[in-house]
């Protein structure tokens, strides 16, 4: 039994049954009689019975949003985050431009320049969220796991652009400890260590 049996049974009509529908009222008189009958039989409360009973029993299944939130998949792709290195707090992004290249809706742009130590740094990083389709390619292609998708799906603002600048996406330095590693597309797989071949060193 591999769980596929139910899909292999294509005789879908076996559990069908005919619903008995009483004939529609034809004259206004008949229609009036139906209204009176329905009102006096209190059919409304038949439907409400379950609701009322559950309310009295205090066994509530509703998620109390926004007090309560459902856990979402780690692979959920919400508004992007730019991560920092945990030890030094330096930005992870090296400005290689691969996300800019791979973006299929062409909504990422980076400005880069050499910094005072001669290293390449991104001076500005933007995503046009009006065009972003949240496909996750940028996170997948990123060699440094610097651009990732966040988990935060609640974004309301007056303008989409307000999520799109580098300072909005970058982990603030004081919240470095709260920064979580991204497990979604592009993150190392659990077996990654076994796949690595070591380059020989002469010392």
């Amino acid at each position: 039994m591999n769980g596929l049996e139910q899909f292999k049974d294509r005789n879908v009509s076996q559990n069908y049954y005919r619903v008995k529908i009483e004939p529609y009222p034809k004259t206004p008189w008949e229609r009036f009689k139906r209204v009176v009958r329905r009102s006096l039989r209190l059919e409304l409360f038949v439907g409400l019975k379950i609701t009322l009973m559950e309310m009295l029993r205090f066994k509530i299944h509703t998620i109390q949003y926004p007090k309560e939130k459902l856990p979402i998949s780690p692979r959920y792709r919400a508004v992007h985050k730019l991560l920092r290195l945990l030890e030094s707090g330096n930005e992870r992004c090296i400005g290689c431009g691969l996300c800019e290249k791979i973006c299929i809706s062409n909504c990422i742009r980076i400005d880069t320049r050499p910094d005072e130590n001669g290293r390449k740094i991104p001076t500005e990083y933007t995503i046009n969220f009006g065009r972003c389709i949240f496909c996750g390619y940028c996170a997948e292609v990123c060699p440094e796991l610097a651009i990732v998708h966040g988990q935060d799906y609640e974004h309301a603002s007056e303008q989409r652009a307000q999520f799109a600048l580098k300072e909005d996406m970058l982990t603030p330095l004081d919240k470095l400890k709260e920064q979580k590693e991204y497990p979604g597309f592009g993150a190392p797989t659990p077996a990654a260590d076994k796949l690595i071949k070591k380059t020989p060193l002469a010392y």
């Binding site: 290689c96 400005d111 880069t112 001669g118 380059t199």
Partner: protein, 754 residues
């Protein structure tokens, strides 16, 4: 002609062609890492090996000419493994920084690693500390360097600077400046262009863009008359500013060479220009009032034609002194050579066995000619004789004989050449008066050209001829066109072209001087009210952004130039331009009925050799075998020979006291190069060490240069590239050099220290 087979395909090699050259021409792929078409095979990578049937082991295809009926295999299992191992060796300790490397995306090492599926490494070597070197416009990272030696060879064999070499030291080997602490060269940047990896990079471009984001616009360089083929590479300026900006210039480095001004002087556009309707109205009024249009040759052929049409309609005088001088010289030359144009091209110079250069400070006047001469010298040891009053140290590695003559004695020098190069017929043609005035003793004494020097040239020429030399070229420059005796000089040059085996080339001084000289009917004298186009006039149109009405710079225009190879080359729009163009004015005046300027390309004068071809039909590329497919070549027409005798040689002018020369420093050509952010500099008096010592000056001193009632205050800079003399440039528009040098390129001045 050798017939043989590559991978079963029948191919034919010309004499001396190697297997690789034939394969490339035929479109058969053989991988290489160190091969560069324009230099001799370097043979450092051994990736180009092929198998030849019946021959033990592999054969280097880059240096082996094919033998008849040889059967060559370019790919097999053994070859693949051999090449894969080479790539692994290249990868030993190569920093894994592709993510930030400027070359990533267009890197030969990346490409070949992927091609030969290098995914693991067995080899190792101890890594060395090799710090990054910072050399002015360039940066060199030894740890990225794969020591293919392309840069060294191109610097030596094509540029002629010979500024870098390899410091051998096993795994520590690296590129170092030759015989110097730091690199001091002409900054052509060709080492950056040929570098297959990111070892040599341009400091300005570093980390500003990735190879794959840039849009490539094929164009022609707008700075000098060589109009080299190049690509402007553009991208949006920044996140805030979506306007495109030129990030760098690339060239087809396999086949042609760019100088530093072309490579680093790319952002000379007129950026802020907008459609200013008021200014346009004023311009139209000025055109209605004017009787003269003054302009420079930094315009396209189509614009020149528009100016000519305006002249035909309204009778403007077209004034362009430098093009007028060239035009007159060319006309006089034609009447004695029988051809409407000169014949040699830069390719002919590369193939020449004997070159005489006169009247040009070539390393700054036209670097492409210098590179062509270097190629000829390195490839087949040609003799190069240079006649000039200023000693140019940059030409030292190339020039085999330098003849220093007195300022102003070009007529004597050219006459002496006519005497040794031409036969009796030519002298008869020159006429009795000229022959009688040819007093070699007097000329030699006055011009300071020793008779033994001329004999030496003749000896060298005879020696070359004995060794089977075929091609001889005489290259003449702007000194002669501006010379008071230019007319006679042109006639003498015509005689040389007609009566000797020497072909004469006349270097056009500015980008489109040849085009302007052919298309426009130029006038000598200015009228009362002038329109200046890129020149100061009563109403100024300027592409530099400092005039009364803005015009597009040459990287914002499409059109054609007529270059030194007599080729009509197209150039395209790299950057947007929102202002008015010359065609708008012509339309307003009722001269033009076309929407775009380039619709005039097919209307260029056919009687001057232009062809009726639409702009959009013009090619702008190089083929696999290096054939230049750019535009078309002008047709050379027959010209009726003049029957007049050549005038007798005049008494040589005397230049006493302090004499300065007019030429631009290396990396500068015009105010346009000086507008580019990398090349921007203040104009100075550039002087040699001897000149400084003679006048008791030091570098950094302020001096007053006086001539008649003109005084120019200027700083002095020592120029290590010249061994004698001093010069002033015209690239700094704040310095009024024009008024000092009215015609001839040398002038007598008084220099006083302030």
């Amino acid at each position: 002609m050798v017939k043989f087979y590559i991978d079963g395909k029948e191919v034919v090699a010309n004499r001396g062609e190697t297997i690789l050259q034939v394969a490339r021409r035929e479109g058969i792929y053989i991988p290489t890492m160190c091969y560069l078409s324009k230099v001799k095979p370097i043979e450092s990578c051994r990736l180009c090996v092929v198998e030849v049937e019946g021959v033990e082991g592999f054969v280097l295809s880059c240096q082996t000419p094919a033998t008849p009926d040889a059967r060559i295999t370019t790919d097999s299992k053994e070859l693949y493994e051999h090449r894969q191992n080479i790539m692994k060796l290249y990868d030993v300790n190569h920093p894994l920084e592709c993510g930030v490397c400027d070359k990533s995306g267009e890197c030969d090492l990346q490409n070949k690693n992927l091609e030969f599926r290098v995914d693991s490494q067995e080899f190792s070597a101890r890594d060395q500390y090799r710090p990054i070197q910072d050399w002015n416009y360039l940066q060199y990272d030894p740890s990225l360097c794969i020591l293919c030696e392309k840069c060294v060879h191109v610097c030596n064999e094509v540029i002629g600077d010979d500024a870098i070499e390899i410091e051998y030291g096993g795994y520590k080997s690296r590129i170092i400046p030759k015989d110097a602490e730091t690199l001091d060269c002409t900054w052509c940047g060709e080492c950056v262009a040929v570098c297959p990896v990111g070892a040599f990079i341009s400091k300005d471009f570093k980390y500003s863009a990735n190879a794959w984001e840039l849009d490539r616009i094929p164009a022609a360089c707008a700075h000098c008359s060589a109009s080299c083929h190049l690509y402007y590479e553009t991208k949006h300026s920044s996140i805030e500013n979506p306007e495109p900006k030129i990030y760098r210039v690339k060239n087809e480095f396999e086949f042609e060479t760019l100088c530093g001004a072309g490579r680093f002087g790319f952002d000379f556009e007129n950026r802020e220009a907008k459609k200013d309707e008021e200014a346009f109205k004023r311009a139209i009024e000025a055109f209605k009032r004017a009787d003269t249009i003054k302009f420079t040759s930094f315009i396209t052929n189509e614009e020149a034609l528009l100016l000519q049409k305006m002249k035909e309609r309204f009778g403007y005088r077209l004034v362009n002194d430098e093009a007028r001088a060239y035009q007159r010289f060319l006309e006089n030359f034609s009447q004695y050579s029988g051809k409407s144009l000169y014949t040699p091209s830069l390719y002919d110079i590369e193939d020449s066995d004997f070159i005489i250069l006169m009247g040009s400070f070539i390393s700054s006047d036209n670097p492409a000619v210098r590179y062509a001469m270097t190629v000829s010298q390195k490839r087949h040891r040609s003799e190069i004789v240079n006649f000039h009053p200023v000693e140019d140290d940059l030409l030292k590695p190339v020039v085999t004989k330098f003849v220093k003559h007195e300022v102003g004695s070009e007529e004597a020098a050219l006459s002496m050449l006519v005497d040794i190069l031409c036969d009796e017929d030519a002298k008869k043609r020159a006429g009795k008066e000229w022959l009688e005035s040819f007093d070699i003793g007097y000329l030699s004494a006055e011009s300071n050209i020793g008779e033994e020097e001329i004999e030496d040239i003749l000896k060298r020429l005879k020696m070359k001829k004995r060794r089977g030399a075929k091609r001889f070229t005489l290259i003449l420059g702007e000194d002669l066109y501006t010379h008071p005796r230019a007319e006679n000089l042109a006639k003498l040059a015509g005689l040389v072209d007609r009566f000797s085996e020497f072909d004469v080339m006349l270097i056009p001084p500015k980008t489109n001087t040849l085009g302007v000289a052919l298309i426009c009917d130029l006038d000598e004298e200015e009228g009362e009210f002038s329109i200046g186009y890129n020149q100061k006039g009563d109403f100024t149109l300027s592409a530099l952004g400092d005039g009364d009405l803005d015009m597009p710079a040459l990287n914002q225009q499409e059109g054609t130039f007529t270059n030194i190879d007599r080729r009509v080359v197209p150039t395209n729009v790299a950057l947007p331009y929102e202002g008015y163009v010359l065609n708008d004015i012509a339309k307003e005046l009722g001269v033009s009925d076309k929407e775009y300027t380039i619709e005039y390309t097919k209307e260029l004068p056919k009687e001057k050799g232009y062809k009726e071809i639409e702009f959009d039909e013009l090619d702008n590329e190089f083929l696999n075998d290096g054939t230049e497919k750019r535009g078309y070549e002008l047709e050379i027409k027959k010209v009726n020979l003049s029957r007049k005798n050549i005038e007798p040689i005049e008494e040589l002018p005397e230049f006493n006291g302090t004499v300065i020369y007019r030429c631009e420093p290396v990396l500068q050509f015009s105010p346009f190069t000086n507008k580019a952010h990398q090349l921007r500099t203040k104009g100075k008096l550039y002087a040699s060490e001897t000149f400084l010592n003679d006048l008791g000056l030091k570098e950094g001193d302020k001096v007053n240069i006086q001539k008649d009632n003109i005084t120019i205050s200027i700083e002095v800079e020592r120029d290590g590239f010249i061994a004698s003399g001093a010069y002033l440039g015209r690239f700094d528009k704040n310095i009024d050099t024009e008024s000092l040098f009215k015609d001839y390129r040398f002038t007598e001045v008084k220099i006083q220290k302030v």
